[in-house]
């Protein structure tokens, strides 16, 4: 525990390099090669200026949205590599050590969860919200464009800390939830848990600001006539999700902040001695953690609602019930956090209350599933890839929902707690529920963002690989859980488990094929983009406002802001033959200028995190100074907008 801490480099020394395992070392090399390769390609193409002015300093919500999604897809690959490595280890390690040292295996399951939740799902969701919501509500931008860029850069800084933990030092071995006392400094010294804490704390600040930004955007920047009950479902779910972010993320900040204080300053929030109370961590963490599940899944529900209506060529069935179900889920999400630790030893009555509350959430969720089914009923269904993912979701999600209701019963929970049954359950919710939703959204809105389709054949292939791969990978885990297999086993001695674990590994291989198909789809689509071009701006016969504009939309979004008179107003106007009215526009519009504040804040946030992880305090202070300086500097910038003239012969509907 007495480590050497130097003034210049903190506790950073040569032993931080990943020579402890050849697998970790190759991972570090791949990460480095990826980073250096990216820089080299940009330099070779001479695109630094274009990258800087067009993307990195951009405050255009559409550009920021795309950067978020690129980040998410990169992290999806990294998180998946972790997953398949775990599956391979468990397929091999019956009565043997497998190929991974125990400590490295623990890092892998910790980083897999952390990456998938914080740096894959969150950026994917935020990216889609960013790109689509202003277009759906008829706004020219989000309420706070520069704040939006800051949010993105803080998220990127957190992801950067996450990635660099593979090269310099080690990552946490305490799982993605970081429970004390194990995650305390007494049992887990070193930098791993600190990397975990600071990467999610830095990105969490960005997420909180995203929540604020989108609540204001949705409530204040809607086009005239876009009443709340005329908003598209994706916007509604984005609103509920943003409200949850505002109220839930402080709990994550508090929980991880206190853990950091325990670890760094020797405090006693969650320690075993000196008046610490580790149960308090579980409460704080899951007061954030359970709403987080809904923060992720509600927007996916919104995407499914858009997709199912569009591809069934029907109006969404039961729109008001979907809105109310969303709102009810959002409220109930704050009342169930204790079901994550029924076994903690609260009284039977407390457990019963939280068990019932958990089961109650299944009701509004069930309402939604029926609404989607009835939307499809007697519709003219087109089986494009987004619709395939939606149908796959409906089939699989119901299974996960039922296993969730089982887990909500405290006595059953006692026997399945910490088993792979739980792992199967929550993957059953987040892969079909969250990831399929985002992939459906990615394929649905891609033509809007880039002006050409994604190849549907490779999209369908990716779907089938994901679907079958998912079933093979996770259904065995349900069985294994019921057979009593604990989660996070690096090695085991029960011969009965191995065949099922091999099946699960095969499932992971099929999912790998699904990811490969996604990559090929992107590549093929870019290659044949001329043939796949969308010239109409409305390739799917869409219903909502984003389809009323050209693909890709101009920087200022709407040449003329439309006046909304009904739900699905664009669809009505299209079929009644009377174009939508629009607000008379002045000749020139104002769009925000680029700003370096975002990259500065991201750089500062990264330095704060890296400094705090390694006890390089001058670096942390310098990072803080850069971030605060950037904010103060921003307050002195006078000329934040430039004029554009929208009427360059662009079409208006």
């Amino acid at each position: 525990m007495t480590e050497h801490v130097s003034l210049l480099l903190g506790r950073l020394g040569p032993d931080a390099l990943p020579f402890y395992s050849w697998v970790a070392f190759s991972g570090a090399l791949v990460t480095l090669a990826g980073g250096v390769g990216f820089l080299a390609v940009v330099t070779w193409l001479g695109q630094w200026r274009a990258l800087w002015t067009g993307w990195l300093t951009s405050v255009d919500h559409k550009r920021i949205g795309i950067m978020y999604i690129v980040l998410a897809l990169v992290m999806l690959v990294r998180g998946f590599v972790d997953a398949i490595m775990m599956r391979l280890q468990q397929a091999l390690s019956y009565n043997s050590d497998g190929y991974l040292p125990p400590e490295h295996f623990e890092q892998i399951f910790s980083s897999h969860g952390t990456i998938m939740i914080f740096f894959m799902a969150m950026p994917f969701m935020t990216g889609l919200l960013n790109y689509i919501i202003p277009l759906q509500i008829g706004a020219r931008d989000v309420a706070f464009p520069v704040l939006n860029a800051i949010s993105f850069w803080l998220t990127a800084a957190g992801a950067g800390l996450m990635l660099i933990s593979l090269v310099i030092g080690r990552f946490s071995t305490a799982g993605w939830t970081g429970y004390p006392p194990y995650s305390g400094v007494e049992f887990t010294p070193g930098v791993g848990v600190d990397y975990w804490i600071w990467s999610i704390m830095v990105s969490g600040v960005g997420t909180t600001m995203t929540g604020i930004n989108f609540v204001v955007t949705i409530l204040r920047k809607r086009a005239p006539g876009m009443l709340l009950m005329r908003m598209p479902m994706f916007t509604w779910t984005g609103l509920c999700s943003s409200i949850l972010i505002i109220f839930a993320f402080p709990a994550l900040t508090v929980a991880t902040g206190m853990l950091a204080l325990d670890r760094t300053l020797g405090m006693h929030f969650f320690t075993n001695d000196a008046g610490g109370n580790m149960m308090n961590y579980m409460n704080l963490f899951w007061i954030w953690g359970h709403p987080e599940v809904y923060i992720l899944i509600l927007p996916a529900f919104g995407i499914f609602s858009e997709v199912v209506a569009t591809f069934s060529s029907k109006r969404l069935f039961g729109y008001p019930s979907l809105v109310y179900a969303t709102a009810v889920i959002a409220i109930l999400s704050f009342t169930v956090w204790l079901h994550h630790f029924f076994t903690m030893g609260a009284s039977a009555n407390v457990n019963a209350v939280f068990g019932i509350a958990t089961m109650v959430i299944a009701v509004p969720t069930g309402v939604k599933v029926f609404d989607w089914l009835f939307t499809m009923f007697r519709g003219r269904i087109r089986f494009e890839p987004p619709m395939l993912y939606t149908i796959g979701f409906m089939c699989l999600f119901v299974i996960g929902g039922m296993s969730g209701v089982l887990l909500a019963i405290p006595p059953i929970n006692y026997s399945t707690h910490n088993t792979t049954f739980l792992v199967a359950h929550f993957h059953n919710m987040v892969i079909p529920g969250v990831l399929f939703g985002y992939l459906a959204g990615y394929m649905y809105w891609f033509p809007k963002a880039f002006g050409f389709h994604l190849d549907p054949t490779w999209g369908a292939r990716s779907f089938w690989f994901w679907l079958i791969g998912f079933l093979l990978a996770f259904m065995p885990l349900y069985l294994l859980g019921l057979m009593g297999m604990p989660r996070r086993m690096e090695t085991y001695g029960n011969a009965e488990w191995q065949p099922l674990l091999i099946v699960a590994f095969i499932g992971a291989c099929l999912i790998l094929m699904g990811i490969v198909c996604l990559v090929i789809q992107l590549w093929v689509s870019i290659k044949y983009r001329r043939a796949l071009r969308d010239t109409t701006g409305d390739p799917w016969d869409g219903r909502t406002l984003e389809w009323s504009m050209p693909s890709p939309p101009p920087e200022w979004n709407f040449d003329a802001v439309p006046v909304v008179t009904t739900r699905d107003a664009f669809h009505e106007a299209k079929y009644s033959g009377t174009p939508m009215k629009s607000v008379p526009q002045p000749g020139t519009l104002h769009v925000p200028r680029n700003s370096v504040v975002g990259p500065c804040m991201g750089f500062g946030g990264f330095c704060v995190g890296f400094g705090a992880v390694w006890f390089i305090w001058w670096l942390a202070l310098a990072g803080l100074a850069v971030a605060v300086g950037a904010l103060i500097g921003r307050a002195f910038v006078q000329n934040t907008e430039r004029e554009v003239a929208p009427d360059l012969g662009a079409k208006t509907t």
Binding site: A143, V215, V216, L261, L265, H268, G275, A635
Partner: protein
């Protein structure tokens, strides 16, 4: 045209203000969770000193007095700025900063004293929660001071306008919010020890 741009400015203002209220709500959740943690840990002394052994009522009274008066002076600054008296507003802001800095000096002195006495945040769960709660409030006050200093510089350097006024009104809101949090600290952390 002027009327139209005023309307745009006003809309932006109302969005910023609404966003700031949302931020305050988020911050209120943050503080309430720290308060809740403090309440849970208030008896976890681990054989160390408790509040009754440590707190000095005089220091507390002066600290609270400084912060409450600063809430008045920042309101006066805002009032002056609304009336267009920029110089007067700047003076009241300077007074606010002095009072706020005084509060911080007393707070830092008190906390340092505790650490020297061996009652630092690593002594017990109770003291961890105490230092974190008071420290988080203190950090917010520090941020408010930096903000106020920035505004003072801006009132002297740049043309006063609606944006500056909007910033001042949000700072005022922030400052009052910190006052309310302090009243919570006063009544839940300090006061019970003197009763």
């Amino acid at each position: 045209m002027i009327a139209a741009s005023d309307a745009v400015e006003e809309q932006i203002d109302s969005e910023t203000e609404f966003g700031f209220w949302l931020y305050l709500m988020s911050d209120a959740v943050l503080f309430s969770l720290i308060f809740a943690t403090f309440a849970v840990m208030s008896t976890n002394l681990a054989g160390g000193p408790g509040g009754a052994d440590l707190f000095d009522i005089k220091n507390l009274a002066v600290q609270t007095g400084l912060l409450l008066i600063s809430s008045l002076t920042i309101a006066l600054a805002h009032h002056a700025a609304v009336g267009g008296h920029v110089a007067r507003a700047a003076v009241w802001l300077v007074v606010t900063c002095i009072l706020g800095a005084g509060f911080l000096v007393l707070e830092v002195r008190e906390l340092t004293e505790f650490v020297v006495k061996g009652a630092g945040p690593d002594r017990s769960g109770y003291l961890s929660a105490f230092f974190t709660l008071v420290g988080t409030h203190g950090l917010h006050v520090t941020a408010g001071l930096i903000w106020a200093l920035t505004l003072i510089v801006q009132t002297t350097l740049t043309q006063p306008g609606p944006r500056l006024l909007s910033r001042l009104s949000r700072l005022t809101l922030f400052w009052h919010f910190l006052d309310i949090v302090w009243i919570g600290v006063f009544s839940l952390v300090y006061l019970p020890e003197f009763l």
